[in-house]
Each structure stands twice: as structure tokens, then as C-alpha cells.
């Protein structure tokens, strides 16, 4: 089995380059001249052609990709057309903020999903199970930004229990110790809540399905017939067998860690990758946009790979089929 993993991992660099290429060529091959946006009435007529030459935009696309890729590997991702700051620095600031948000939301979502899912599976057929399914449909229909706006309205503007946006209070630098910690926590609350519960219902539904499927198998009945206690049957025979699909589901949602926070970051003015990308798109700031999308896409594809490997490793039955 280990050579399956090795083979998959060996594909990783190729995958990264392919994704980067896909993103790059999508950007470059779109019609229109990106630089013309920078032209205003009193721009020097030579400015744009000079800039074009400088940036290598007059070279064939394939060459441009090579240049860009080489620069990227060395850490040079160009400069923002708007702020003139190096893109790499912008990303280095933004990525950890995103991760802080998404990792917490992830933990919240899956903890809740597992609890709710198992509870619903155990109450299969009864009214509480049906209630969960309905709640799923309703919550799924609520887009993240509507949910976020509603929560903002109620908790931030209405009750004023939590701050409405940002990562720290404006005077956070002056705080220290517990007060500072509390301020960070307060700012994390709403965005994590929105991200966390946004897909809880769907995840819980999958957990429920996996547990239900595992509990209706014949060996569970046989275990009960052999006199094992309900708790033992649940833990060792039902959940143990539901682990496979559950871990797979969990791994499959990993990509969301990097790519799932666009809306929430914009809504709560959270300075992460999502807001960086949206800002770049709104301002038509190509270098930043390109780098951000390429990075996120690459990370997502890589985490998909990890998910596949984990899924293959989990089920002993699959270990045989190499």
C-alpha cells in the first residue's frame, strides 16, 4: 500500500505545475488588455508600452508562464499594481489569518457534525431524525453571507455583544495579556460561527448516513446476538466501521480549509486570502489576483491528494486492492 501513497505523492509536483498553468493561462488568454485600465487621461503615452515590456507582457504566453513560474519558485511573485507591495508579502500576511479562521471553524463544524450525526442515526426513523433532515435543508439554503449578515445584525449591531468586523479592535496594540486575548477571541466569534455552522447540516447528514449504513450491517446484528453490550457494539462494531467513510468525508472537506472563506472574510473584513483575492478582483490587480488564485488552487489540489491517500489508508479492505 505504501507504494500507492508514494506514487500519488510523486504526482504532486506535476499537479502543482498543471494547476498553476491552468490558472495562469486562463488569466493570460482572456480577451482584453489588462494594462489599459491603468491608463488615465494624463498618462504618459509611453508609460503603458514601457510597462508592458518591463513586465514581459509582450512575450508569448508560454514564455511568460516560464518566467512567472521561475520567479514564483524563487519567491518573487511580482508587485501589486495598486499598492506596489510585493505580492509574496501580501500573501504571507493573509494566509495565516485565513488559516486561523478556517481551522477553528473546521474543528467546530466537524465536532458538531459528528455529535449531531451519530445522535440522529441512533434515533433513526423517529421524529428527531426527521427534524434534523429538515433543519439541514433550511440551513443549506441559507447562503453564508445571508447567515453572516443576519448574525452581524443581531449580535453585533443589535445586541452589541460582539464586534462587527476586523481581526482586532483598533486600539488592540495597546492591550496586553488577558484583555488582548479576549479581544482576539471576541473578533473570532462571529466569523468562525458563520463558517462553522454553514456546512454543519450537510456534514451531519453524511455522518448520519455513514453511521446508519454501518449499523444496519449483518455483523452488528450478529454482535448483539453474541451478547455484547450496546455500548461495545456501537463503539467497536458500528463506529469502527463507519470510521472509513467518515475519515474520507473529513479528508474530502480539507480543501475547504484554504478555499472556503471568501465570503466570510469579506463580510467581516477579515484580512485573509479571501479578502485579498476579492480586493484584487475588484481592483483588477492582476499580479495579486493571479498569485492568490494560483496559490489557493494549488493548496486545494494538494489537500485533495492528501484526502485520497488518507481514504486509501483507512479501510483495511482497501489495503488489499493495491
Amino acid at each position: 500500500m505504501s507504494h500507492v501513497i508514494v506514487r500519488r505523492l510523486a504526482m504532486a509536483p506535476l499537479l502543482v505545475v498543471t494547476v498553476a498553468a491552468a490558472v495562469f493561462f486562463t488569466a493570460r488568454l482572456l480577451p482584453g488588455d489588462p494594462l489599459e485600465r491603468l491608463v488615465t487621461e494624463d498618462t504618459d503615452p509611453d508609460f503603458v508600452p514601457r510597462l508592458r515590456r518591463q513586465m514581459g507582457l509582450d512575450r508569448p504566453a508560454a514564455v511568460q508562464f516560464g518566467m512567472w513560474l521561475r520567479g514564483a519558485v524563487q519567491g518573487d511573485w511580482g508587485e501589486s499594481w495598486i499598492s506596489r507591495r510585493p505580492v509574496a508579502a501580501l500573501v504571507a500576511e493573509a494566509l495565516p489569518n485565513t488559516l486561523r479562521l478556517t481551522v477553528l471553524a473546521f474543528a467546530m463544524r466537524w465536532t458538531l457534525a459528528v455529535i449531531i450525526g451519530i445522535a440522529a442515526a441512533l434515533r433513526h426513523g423517529r421524529r428527531s431524525d426527521w427534524g434534523l433532515r429538515t433543519a439541514t435543508l433550511v440551513v443549506d439554503a441559507l447562503p453564508a453571507f445571508v447567515l453572516g449578515v443576519l448574525l452581524q445584525l443581531v449580535f453585533a449591531y443589535g445586541l452589541q455583544w460582539l464586534p462587527a468586523d476586523g481581526m482586532h479592535a483598533l486600539d488592540a496594540a495597546g492591550l496586553d495579556g488577558f484583555a488582548r486575548w479576549r479581544d482576539t477571541l471576541a473578533h473570532l466569534c462571529l466569523p468562525v460561527l458563520v463558517l462553522g455552522i454553514h456546512h454543519v447540516a450537510t456534514s451531519a447528514r453524511f455522518v448520519r448516513a455513514a453511521v446508519l449504513e454501518a449499523s444496519t450491517r449483518e455483523h452488528v446484528l450478529a454482535a448483539r446476538a453474541r451478547g455484547l453490550s450496546d455500548r461495545r457494539v456501537l463503539l467497536r462494531h458500528v463506529l469502527r466501521n463507519a470510521m472509513g467513510p467518515l475519515v474520507t468525508l473529513f479528508a474530502l472537506s480539507l480543501p475547504g480549509l484554504v478555499g472556503g472563506s471568501l465570503i466570510v472574510e469579506t463580510l467581516f473584513s477579515w484580512p485573509g486570502m479571501g479578502r485579498l483575492t476579492v480586493g484584487a478582483a475588484q481592483a483588477h490587480d492582476q499580479p495579486v489576483l493571479l498569485a492568490a488564485v494560483a496559490l489557493v488552487a494549488t493548496l486545494v489540489v494538494l489537500s485533495n491528494l492528501v484526502a485520497d491517500v488518507v481514504a486509501a489508508a483507512v479501510d483495511p479492505r482497501q489495503r488489499r486492492e493495491v
Binding site: V146, V149, G158, L212
Partner: protein, 285 residues
């Protein structure tokens, strides 16, 4: 109270009828927006005097910053969203079905290449890809439909391919082949009708999904351009005046939720009836 398989079907039929009926009504209202809306959604009122009037008799959902009637804008927004949703579902389904048919029917290398492409595209987060394109070009309604379709056909392709492979391996296709029927005829008359069920289910699900994505983009300012009314954009605009003036954001927000809920309910019921295997257990995350 356990619902056996028969109970699920009965429940699904009821949900489908109710959901489809409500959706049809809403769609008609939306389509007839030019006729049914009490006010012109883009007509600017007198700034100041008409701005932010609370819901009342003349304006059931109040007015926004520019004195425009919120209820009219909501109906117009429904028109835009439902049209985009249906348009993308149609376009993406056609594209996905074509790819799925070819991949499933041809098999071998063609299948391998196509499915790798599908996997790759599925792996790249859709929102970011759309932002990339819309961030380089100027957002417009046709562009949105194209980009959303170009990033939304993959799941359909997978589903159709799976259905085609399942049927093509079946005995009666082999029989048709043995009888000397040309391949396209086999495809058209035997394989396609059987792939229809999962295709329809997939397409219906896409409407709701598309409405969500399209409004999320509008919220970010990358959706249909002003002055076309768009729910997502309305939600964004209304944030400025929280919490005193809440109706400008909440009304379109509720409209999105209800419309998507209707689409999802109808889609789920349709799936329970047409393709029950695609339901509860497992499936993609």
C-alpha cells in the same frame, strides 16, 4: 414513525408537487416582473425624502438608499437570479452531458483524459476561478452565465458518465450492437434515455447552487452590473445602514433563502422519485 421506502416515495411526491407548484408560481411572478412590479426598480426617488422609508402601505418592504421600492427590486432580482440559474443549469448540463456521454461511451484513453480534466477542474475552487475571470474582464450578465457554466459542468459529466457506463455494459446494448445498429443510434435511443434520470436530477440541483454562487458574487460586487437589481448586491448595500434600517438587506436575503430552499426541496423530491440510489447514503462531500 418509520418511513419505509413506500412512505419516502409518498412524501417525495407530495413535496415535489408542492415545491414545484410554489416554484412555478414564483417563477411566473419573476418573469412577469416588468408587469407585476408596482414600481420601476431603477427609478430613483428624491434623495433624502424617499430614502429608507420603513415598510408600510405604499412600500410593503420599504425603500432603499435611493428611494427605490424594495419589493419591486426583489421581484426583479428573482427574475435575474432565476434566469441565470436556469440558463447556467441548461448550459452546464448540456456541456456536462456531452462530455459524460463521450467519456462513458468511448472509454479508454479518451475517457481517461476527460476524467482527469474533470478531476482537475473540480479540485480548483470554483469561486476563486470565477473571481479570476471576472476580475480580469468586466462583469456582465452573459459573462457570468458563461463562466458559471464553464465551472459548473463537471459534476454532471461524472454523473452522466457513470450512468452511461452502467447501461453500456448491460446486455441489451450488447444485443443492439450485435444487431448491427450504428453506434450513434444506440447512444441516442438506448443509452441517453436511461441517463436522463440522473441528468435531470443533477440539473435541478444546479439551479439552486447557481443562484447561491451568483448572489455571493453579486454580494462581492462582481455580479450583474448596476443598475440591474440583484439580491446579493442589495444585501451588500443594506449593510451600510445597519441596524436601524434592516429591510434593505433582510428582504433580499430572505428571498434568496426561500428560493434556494424551494429549488432544493423540489430537486430532492425529484431525486427521491427518479434516482433513489443517489440519495441518502454517502455521495460526495
Amino acid at each position: 414513525m418509520t418511513l419505509g421506502p413506500a412512505g419516502v416515495r409518498r412524501h417525495a411526491r407530495w413535496t415535489l408537487r408542492t415545491g414545484a407548484a410554489l416554484l412555478a408560481v414564483w417563477s411566473v411572478v419573476a418573469l412577469l416582473a416588468p408587469v407585476l412590479a408596482p414600481y420601476d426598480p431603477t427609478a430613483l426617488g428624491t434623495l433624502g425624502a424617499d430614502s429608507y422609508r420603513a415598510p408600510g402601505r405604499t412600500h410593503p418592504l420599504g425603500t432603499d438608499e435611493f428611494g427605490r421600492d424594495v419589493w419591486s427590486r426583489v421581484i426583479w432580482g428573482a427574475r435575474v437570479s432565476l434566469l441565470i440559474g436556469a440558463g447556467v443549469a441548461l448550459l452546464a448540463s448540456t456541456l456536462g452531458a456531452a462530455v459524460g456521454l463521450v467519456a462513458g461511451a468511448r472509454g479508454g484513453k479518451v475517457d481517461g483524459i476527460l476524467m482527469r480534466a474533470v478531476d482537475l477542474m473540480l479540485a480548483i475552487p470554483r469561486a476563486y476561478l470565477v473571481l479570476l475571470v471576472v476580475g480580469i474582464l468586466r462583469p456582465s450578465l452573459p459573462l457570468l452565465v458563461i463562466v458559471l457554466s464553464a465551472t459548473g459542468w463537471m459534476q454532471t459529466a461524472r454523473v452522466v458518465r457513470a450512468a452511461v457506463r452502467e447501461i453500456a455494459a448491460g446486455p441489451y446494448v450488447e444485443a443492439a450492437h450485435a444487431l448491427g445498429l450504428p453506434p450513434w443510434r444506440i447512444l441516442w435511443r438506448h443509452i441517453l434515455p436511461n441517463a436522463a434520470a440522473p441528468l435531470v436530477v443533477s440539473a435541478t440541483a444546479m439551479v439552486g447552487q447557481t443562484i447561491l454562487v451568483e448572489n455571493a458574487l453579486a454580494f462581492l460586487g462582481m455580479g450583474v452590473p448596476v443598475p440591474t437589481p440583484s439580491w446579493g448586491a442589495m444585501v451588500e448595500e443594506g449593510r451600510k445602514v445597519f441596524p436601524g434600517v434592516w429591510w434593505v438587506s433582510v428582504a433580499p436575503g430572505v428571498a434568496i433563502a426561500c428560493t434556494v430552499l424551494l429549488c432544493n426541496l423540489t430537486g430532492d423530491a425529484l431525486r427521491d422519485l427518479l434516482d433513489p440510489r443517489a440519495g441518502e447514503s454517502g455521495g460526495g462531500a
